[in-house]
């Protein structure tokens, strides 16, 4: 199958979240120059145009961040000197029918192609919950599952969840907006992570292997103790009546980013999903797969992959006893808060590295100082020797000086001097007398 899209295409990847979006986006963001040389432009300045996508999809904003500028992103796409433009943000999946249509029209209905990446819902669910906790949520996992599966219409918690993850509705909504012939669903195969990048390379006319994904610590899920500590922290944070703006600035995009660089021990417990929720996920996935299969869109990969049962280790009720942490983990986030806070951050924000550099400079200066001191000591020794000799010489000089000064012209009157001159004259006149008096 020839996947190459026509010149002029805008390829819009709308996620949804938790479907390897970060991997794909960082592969584009980190390879901008190579993309340019193959006449592909990746829209936006950052890894993904999050706030602009939110503005376009549902007009929402991120607390503590200025509203996204969707028209500016459109202008950038319009001005791009490239054959094909890639736009990727999972936040486009927040759009309802009307907003989806508007996004497609803004990009150009005749030249937009939409890509939707899909993973099994049963794998998305725990990952999505911990992501919500990283963004302020306080609900426990079983409680949140109950809300999503049994009370989604009544709760105000995570209102976009099903907009993102009713994948059948998502596919049909965007197929309606862009035309089913202009929509590709990529079913992810976790045993072949490179496959997604290869498909996109083919669609955009890029050489195979050009897109390279850089591993990103922030892309992993939190372990159970990590997420439970975070959740408890959120509880205490908002009990203090602090704001979501503060949370976004100091925690979500501050300390939590650093915290995710932690490498959990292999045996640290993972989040497990209760059996009832697993069953509901699989039942729903079957329904979604049937609907997607008959939607008429292009499907790459096997839709049946979306209905497979999870590993036994991923299934189970949350432990009865309260979650406990190792001391290392318990102390770690406090450290990361300091690391992210203004007390340490300079322009580069990397205090330990700067400290190490300064220490190195200091060591170099100290060594120079020692060297200089040694030279100074040598010089002093020489100086002392010279001074001693000088003293001796002065002594000798003093004696002769005494004599000299007695003979000095200052001690002679004009008459004496004239006497000397006349004596010299006489001596010249009287040969044989050679005195110079």
């Amino acid at each position: 199958m020839d996947l190459l899209l026509p010149v002029g295409t805008r390829l819009l990847h709308i996620g949804p979240p938790k479907t390897a979006t970060t991997t794909l986006q960082s592969a584009f963001h980190n390879n901008r120059e190579a993309l340019n040389s193959h006449r592909v432009h990746y829209a936006g300045k950052a890894r993904q145009p999050m706030t602009a996508a939110l503005a376009a999809a549902d007009g929402s904003t991120v607390p503590g961040r200025s509203a996204g500028n969707w028209p500016r992103l459109l202008q950038e796409i319009e001005d791009a000197d490239a054959d094909r433009v890639m736009i990727s943000s999972e936040f486009f999946s927040h759009a309802d029918d009307e907003h989806a249509r508007a996004v497609v029209e803004a990009l150009g209905a005749d030249r937009t192609h939409v890509v939707i990446t899909l993973r099994p819902l049963v794998k998305i669910i725990p990952s999505q919950w911990q992501q919500y906790v990283r963004d302020r949520m306080r609900s426990a996992y079983p409680e949140w599952l109950d809300l999503m599966f049994n009370h989604a219409d009544e709760t105000t918690i995570t209102p976009k969840f099903w907009r993102r993850h009713r994948h059948d509705l998502l596919v049909r909504r965007w197929a309606e907006a862009v035309g089913k012939q202009n929509l590709t669903v990529i079913v992810l195969d976790e045993s072949q992570p490179e496959r997604l990048l290869n498909i996109v390379e083919e669609m955009l006319g890029l050489p195979l292997g050009l897109l390279v994904s850089k591993p990103d610590a922030n892309n992993r899920s939190m372990t159970l103790p990590e997420v439970e500590m975070m959740r408890e922290f959120n509880e205490q944070f908002f009990a203090n009546e602090w704001t979501s703006e503060d949370y976004t600035r100091f925690i979500r995009f501050g300390s939590t980013r650093r915290f995710m660089e932690r490498v959990p021990a292999a045996d640290e417990p993972k989040i497990t999903t209760p059996q009832w929720a697993v069953d509901r996920c699989i039942e729903l996935s079957r329904q979604m797969v049937t609907s997607i299969a008959t939607s008429g869109v292009r499907i790459l990969g096997d839709l049946e992959w979306l209905t497979v049962a999870p590993r036994a280790s991923a299934v189970g009720d949350p432990e009865e006893r309260p979650v406990v942490l190792t001391a290392e983990l318990a102390a770690r986030h406090s450290i990361d808060v300091i690391g992210a806070a203004k007390v340490l951050s300079t322009q580069e924000g990397n205090f330990p590295a700067q400290l190490a550099a300064v220490k190195q400079q200091l060591a170099a200066v100290k060594q120079q100082l020692t060297e200089t001191k040694r030279k100074l000591a040598d010089a002093r020794k020489q100086l002392r020797a010279v001074q001693e000799r000088l003293q001796e010489t002065k002594q000798q000089l003093g004696d002769s000086e005494q004599l000299r000064s007695e003979q000095s012209i200052h001690h002679h009157t004009a008459r004496d001097l004239m006497g000397v001159v006349s004596g010299r004259v006489r001596a010249r006149l009287v040969p044989g007398r050679r005195s110079r008096g």
Binding site: F233, Q236, F250, A327, H333, I338, K342, V343, P352
Partner: protein
């Protein structure tokens, strides 16, 4: 000294200098004074300083430097405190800071002379060494140490006193007989009062201060804040935090002082203790060793000739249900970890690094004195006849010029 406290009242003009040491209920006493200033004033008692305790001022005279996290000019608070005490018109003035117990003999003398050697009464509060040990360990941890309790006990009780900074600091404060002797050597034993605290009587310390100062009974009241100790769980999280802070990150002391000592510690202490948190329990061997030292100390204190209020035998503490070993904490409840983070967030988002002032310009070096050289001229031998004629002619010209 009679049991009803008659005769305890200190003379008018007395400066009552309470030097702690640490971990003997000082925070509670200081809070009682600080929050009852107006009532104290009505009864002729002035509590020196503006805060709970004048720690930066005491640090200035004892350590000769500003405390970590305080501006460099906080050392000026010592002369200010001295001036405040000197000019107070109150009948009795109270100065309380456990930092004074860190003073060596010279600093102790400076302090006493500053307040007036003839009118200063040094008050030392004492609790059993066995109870001070766990309390002092967690205090060291709050200040940035990362030794375990077992390591701490070994260092304090089984190693020479000069083993480390911590052992030196500990015994300087808590070899109570030596502390008393040091201050008695400066003010005289008759001007030192030791209060052996009875933990079973909650108001004992406040009642005693009221008697010393001539205050109506019950005037002093504890405020809500107490320098309660951290639990074992909290201390272990703090200890691990310090390890990561100083060993892994190698971050500076002043950031720790702000974020951890004030931020995290204060936040943890203000939260209610959880049911699953355990106190710091001292093993039996350490209690026995501490008791031996307590016996030595009380014997020496009895002989020292200072005033003693309370019963010195209360300074022995040897419970028979002590564990064999120090308990290890393998697991920390999420609440405690989250509280630690909260404390740091709470402080770092408000923290301001003090601007240290530039040191004043150094005095300019005196210019080196110029060496005076004797005037020498050439000898007649060294000049030609023509030059000699020139010299004579020059002299003649100068003479003529001067005379005109």
């Amino acid at each position: 000294m009679s049991a009803d406290g008659a005769g305890l009242l200190l003379p008018v003009g007395t400066r009552l200098l309470h030097i702690g040491p640490q971990k003997t209920g000082t925070t509670a006493v200081q809070g009682a004074f600080h929050t009852n200033r107006a009532a104290l004033a009505e009864h002729g008692v002035h509590y020196a300083g503006k805060t709970r305790q004048p720690r930066p001022a005491a640090a200035a005279v004892v350590l000769g430097t500003a405390l970590p996290g305080f501006p460099a000019d906080s050392v000026d608070r010592w002369p200010a405190l001295v001036e405040e005490v000197r000019t107070s018109s109150a009948d009795r003035v109270v100065i309380s800071a456990e930092m004074f117990a860190n003073a060596g003999e010279a600093a102790a003398r400076t302090v006493v002379e500053a307040f007036g050697a003839n009118r200063t009464r040094v008050v030392i509060t004492l609790r059993p060494l066995a109870k001070i040990m766990p309390s002092q360990w967690q205090q060291f941890i709050q200040s940035g140490a990362h030794m375990s309790y077992a390591e701490f006990l070994d260092a304090m009780l089984d190693q020479p006193r000069d083993t480390s900074e911590h052992t030196q600091a500990f015994w300087h404060r808590h070899r109570h007989d030596e502390l008393i002797e040091r201050w008695a050597g400066v003010v005289g034993p008759d001007n030192v009062t030791v209060i052996a605290i009875d933990d079973r009587e909650r108001r004992m310390l406040l009642d005693t201060f009221e008697l010393l100062l001539g205050l109506p009974q019950g005037l002093l009241a504890y405020d809500t804040k107490s320098n309660s100790s951290l639990s074992l769980t909290e201390t272990e999280v703090f200890r691990e935090f310090n390890r990561q802070f100083f060993l892994d990150k190698q971050w500076p002391e002043e950031v720790h002082a702000a974020a951890a000592r004030y931020g995290m510690a204060t936040y943890l202490k203000n939260e209610p203790t959880l049911a699953c948190e355990e106190p710091i329990a001292t093993p039996a061997w350490a209690l026995r060793r501490a008791d031996e030292i307590a016996v030595e100390m009380t014997t020496a204190i009895r002989r020292s000739g200072v005033h003693v209020i309370g019963a010195l035998q209360d300074l022995r503490h040897l419970p028979d249900d002590a564990p064999d070993d120090v308990a290890a904490i393998d697991e920390v409840p999420v609440e405690v970890a989250a509280r630690a983070v909260m404390g740091v967030v709470w402080h770092t988002t408000m923290a301001r690094t003090p601007r240290s002032r530039r040191p004043g310009a150094m005095g300019a070096e005196a210019p080196a004195a110029k060496s005076s050289k004797p005037a020498t001229g050439p000898t007649t031998d060294e000049l030609t006849s023509a030059q000699l004629v020139g010299v004579v002619a020059g002299r003649a010209r100068r003479r003529i010029t001067r005379s005109t």
